[in-house]
Amino acid sequence: MTALVILQSLLLISGALMFVVGSIGLLRFPDTYTRIHALTKADNVGLGLIIIGLIPANFSLLVTLKLLLIWLLVMLASALSGHLVAWEARAKQVPLAPSEGESNDELTD
Protein backbone atom coordinates (compact mmCIF):
# COMPACT_ATOMS: atom_id res chain seq x y z
CA MET A 1 0.00 0.00 0.00
CA THR A 2 2.78 2.42 0.88
CA ALA A 3 4.47 1.76 -2.46
CA LEU A 4 1.28 2.82 -4.17
CA VAL A 5 1.12 6.00 -2.11
CA ILE A 6 4.70 6.84 -3.01
CA LEU A 7 3.99 6.19 -6.68
CA GLN A 8 0.90 8.40 -6.48
CA SER A 9 2.81 11.21 -4.79
CA LEU A 10 5.53 11.02 -7.41
CA LEU A 11 3.02 11.16 -10.22
CA LEU A 12 1.08 14.07 -8.70
CA ILE A 13 4.11 16.18 -7.88
CA SER A 14 5.85 15.56 -11.18
CA GLY A 15 2.57 16.44 -12.91
CA ALA A 16 2.38 19.70 -11.03
CA LEU A 17 6.02 20.40 -11.88
CA MET A 18 5.21 19.87 -15.56
CA PHE A 19 2.70 22.68 -15.22
CA VAL A 20 5.39 24.91 -13.75
CA VAL A 21 7.66 23.98 -16.67
CA GLY A 22 4.87 24.87 -19.08
CA SER A 23 4.36 28.21 -17.40
CA ILE A 24 8.07 28.98 -17.46
CA GLY A 25 8.14 27.98 -21.12
CA LEU A 26 5.28 30.34 -21.81
CA LEU A 27 7.18 33.07 -20.06
CA ARG A 28 10.58 32.43 -21.64
CA PHE A 29 9.90 31.51 -25.26
CA PRO A 30 10.43 34.39 -27.67
CA ASP A 31 7.48 34.28 -30.07
CA THR A 32 3.87 33.19 -30.41
CA TYR A 33 4.59 29.93 -32.25
CA THR A 34 7.02 28.57 -29.68
CA ARG A 35 4.66 29.59 -26.90
CA ILE A 36 1.97 27.43 -28.45
CA HIS A 37 4.44 24.58 -28.20
CA ALA A 38 5.04 25.22 -24.49
CA LEU A 39 1.33 25.42 -23.86
CA THR A 40 0.14 22.33 -25.65
CA LYS A 41 2.89 19.93 -24.63
CA ALA A 42 3.78 20.47 -21.01
CA ASP A 43 0.25 20.98 -19.81
CA ASN A 44 -1.23 17.87 -21.28
CA VAL A 45 1.57 15.74 -19.90
CA GLY A 46 1.13 17.43 -16.53
CA LEU A 47 -2.61 16.86 -16.47
CA GLY A 48 -2.10 13.29 -17.64
CA LEU A 49 0.35 12.54 -14.82
CA ILE A 50 -1.98 14.10 -12.25
CA ILE A 51 -4.95 12.12 -13.55
CA ILE A 52 -3.03 8.83 -13.55
CA GLY A 53 -1.93 9.68 -10.03
CA LEU A 54 -5.52 10.21 -8.96
CA ILE A 55 -6.90 6.97 -10.36
CA PRO A 56 -5.69 4.80 -7.43
CA ALA A 57 -7.37 7.21 -4.97
CA ASN A 58 -10.71 5.52 -5.60
CA PHE A 59 -10.75 2.34 -7.61
CA SER A 60 -13.98 3.00 -9.40
CA LEU A 61 -14.44 2.30 -13.08
CA LEU A 62 -16.82 5.21 -13.66
CA VAL A 63 -14.60 7.75 -11.94
CA THR A 64 -11.59 6.48 -13.89
CA LEU A 65 -13.46 6.75 -17.16
CA LYS A 66 -14.62 10.26 -16.31
CA LEU A 67 -11.09 11.35 -15.45
CA LEU A 68 -9.74 9.91 -18.70
CA LEU A 69 -12.53 11.63 -20.62
CA ILE A 70 -11.57 14.94 -19.02
CA TRP A 71 -7.96 14.40 -20.06
CA LEU A 72 -9.00 13.55 -23.61
CA LEU A 73 -11.19 16.65 -23.85
CA VAL A 74 -8.48 18.95 -22.52
CA MET A 75 -6.01 17.53 -25.04
CA LEU A 76 -8.52 18.05 -27.82
CA ALA A 77 -9.23 21.60 -26.65
CA SER A 78 -5.61 22.64 -26.41
CA ALA A 79 -4.76 21.00 -29.73
CA LEU A 80 -7.66 22.81 -31.35
CA SER A 81 -6.95 26.21 -29.83
CA GLY A 82 -3.22 25.89 -30.48
CA HIS A 83 -3.98 25.06 -34.09
CA LEU A 84 -6.43 27.94 -34.47
CA VAL A 85 -4.03 30.48 -33.01
CA ALA A 86 -1.13 29.24 -35.14
CA TRP A 87 -3.32 29.15 -38.25
CA GLU A 88 -4.48 32.69 -37.77
CA ALA A 89 -1.01 33.89 -36.73
CA ARG A 90 0.37 32.55 -40.00
CA ALA A 91 -2.43 34.20 -41.98
CA LYS A 92 -1.64 37.48 -40.27
CA GLN A 93 2.10 36.94 -40.80
CA VAL A 94 3.06 37.26 -37.19
CA PRO A 95 6.87 37.35 -37.31
CA LEU A 96 9.01 34.50 -36.02
CA ALA A 97 11.65 35.25 -33.46
CA PRO A 98 15.08 35.20 -35.10
CA SER A 99 17.04 32.12 -34.14
CA GLU A 100 20.52 32.49 -32.76
CA GLY A 101 23.43 32.94 -35.11
CA GLU A 102 21.21 33.70 -38.05
CA SER A 103 20.99 36.91 -39.96
CA ASN A 104 17.64 38.38 -39.06
CA ASP A 105 17.39 41.61 -40.96
CA GLU A 106 14.24 40.78 -42.85
CA LEU A 107 12.47 39.14 -39.95
CA THR A 108 12.45 41.92 -37.39
CA ASP A 109 9.25 43.89 -37.30
Binding site: S23, L39, D43, I51, L54, A57, A77
Partner: protein, 91 residues
Protein backbone atom coordinates in the same frame (compact mmCIF):
# COMPACT_ATOMS: atom_id res chain seq x y z
CA UNK B 1 -2.13 11.73 1.46
CA UNK B 2 -4.04 14.96 1.88
CA UNK B 3 -0.72 16.74 2.38
CA UNK B 4 0.39 15.53 -1.04
CA UNK B 5 -2.83 16.84 -2.56
CA UNK B 6 -2.40 20.15 -0.78
CA UNK B 7 1.21 20.45 -1.88
CA UNK B 8 0.32 19.65 -5.50
CA UNK B 9 -2.45 22.25 -5.37
CA UNK B 10 -0.05 24.82 -4.05
CA UNK B 11 2.45 24.17 -6.88
CA UNK B 12 -0.37 24.48 -9.39
CA UNK B 13 -1.52 27.79 -7.92
CA UNK B 14 2.05 29.08 -8.11
CA UNK B 15 2.24 28.05 -11.76
CA UNK B 16 -0.96 30.04 -12.32
CA UNK B 17 0.71 33.15 -10.96
CA UNK B 18 3.60 32.64 -13.41
CA UNK B 19 1.03 32.37 -16.20
CA UNK B 20 -0.56 35.66 -15.12
CA UNK B 21 2.76 37.39 -15.72
CA UNK B 22 2.68 36.32 -19.36
CA UNK B 23 -0.81 37.75 -19.72
CA UNK B 24 0.34 41.09 -18.36
CA UNK B 25 3.49 41.11 -20.51
CA UNK B 26 1.76 40.15 -23.72
CA UNK B 27 3.02 41.51 -26.08
CA UNK B 28 0.45 40.25 -28.54
CA UNK B 29 -3.21 39.46 -27.93
CA UNK B 30 -2.55 35.88 -29.00
CA UNK B 31 0.04 35.45 -26.25
CA UNK B 32 -2.43 36.66 -23.66
CA UNK B 33 -5.02 34.25 -24.96
CA UNK B 34 -2.58 31.32 -24.90
CA UNK B 35 -1.79 32.08 -21.27
CA UNK B 36 -5.52 32.10 -20.53
CA UNK B 37 -5.73 28.69 -22.17
CA UNK B 38 -3.00 27.46 -19.83
CA UNK B 39 -5.07 28.82 -16.98
CA UNK B 40 -7.98 26.67 -18.12
CA UNK B 41 -5.91 23.48 -18.14
CA UNK B 42 -4.47 24.28 -14.72
CA UNK B 43 -7.99 24.97 -13.46
CA UNK B 44 -9.05 21.50 -14.60
CA UNK B 45 -6.09 19.94 -12.77
CA UNK B 46 -6.92 21.87 -9.60
CA UNK B 47 -10.55 20.78 -9.79
CA UNK B 48 -9.78 17.07 -10.13
CA UNK B 49 -7.46 17.29 -7.14
CA UNK B 50 -10.00 19.26 -5.10
CA UNK B 51 -12.52 16.51 -5.85
CA UNK B 52 -10.30 14.15 -3.80
CA UNK B 53 -9.18 16.64 -1.18
CA UNK B 54 -12.54 18.03 -0.11
CA UNK B 55 -13.89 15.29 -0.92
CA UNK B 56 -16.51 16.51 -3.38
CA UNK B 57 -17.13 14.26 -6.42
CA UNK B 58 -19.13 16.99 -8.16
CA UNK B 59 -15.89 18.93 -8.65
CA UNK B 60 -15.07 16.37 -11.35
CA UNK B 61 -18.24 17.38 -13.21
CA UNK B 62 -17.10 20.98 -12.99
CA UNK B 63 -13.74 19.93 -14.45
CA UNK B 64 -15.61 18.18 -17.26
CA UNK B 65 -17.60 21.34 -18.02
CA UNK B 66 -14.44 23.43 -17.94
CA UNK B 67 -12.63 21.00 -20.25
CA UNK B 68 -15.50 21.10 -22.73
CA UNK B 69 -15.66 24.88 -22.77
CA UNK B 70 -11.90 25.46 -22.80
CA UNK B 71 -11.70 26.10 -26.52
CA UNK B 72 -14.71 28.42 -26.62
CA UNK B 73 -12.69 31.52 -25.76
CA UNK B 74 -10.03 30.64 -28.33
CA UNK B 75 -12.61 30.13 -31.08
CA UNK B 76 -14.33 33.42 -30.19
CA UNK B 77 -11.00 35.22 -30.10
CA UNK B 78 -9.76 33.93 -33.43
CA UNK B 79 -13.04 34.37 -35.26
CA UNK B 80 -14.20 37.67 -33.79
CA UNK B 81 -11.41 39.70 -32.24
CA UNK B 82 -8.20 38.88 -34.04
CA UNK B 83 -9.70 39.02 -37.51
CA UNK B 84 -10.63 42.64 -36.94
CA UNK B 85 -7.42 43.75 -35.26
CA UNK B 86 -4.93 45.64 -37.37
CA UNK B 87 -1.28 44.73 -36.86
CA UNK B 88 -0.21 48.00 -35.29
CA UNK B 89 -2.69 47.86 -32.43
CA UNK B 90 -2.23 44.18 -31.67
CA UNK B 91 -1.63 44.40 -27.96
Amino acid sequence: MSYIYGFTLFILLVSLIVGVMRIIQGPRQADRLLAAQLFGTTGVAILVILAELQPLPAARDTALVLALLAMLAAVAFVSRVWKTTSTNEDH
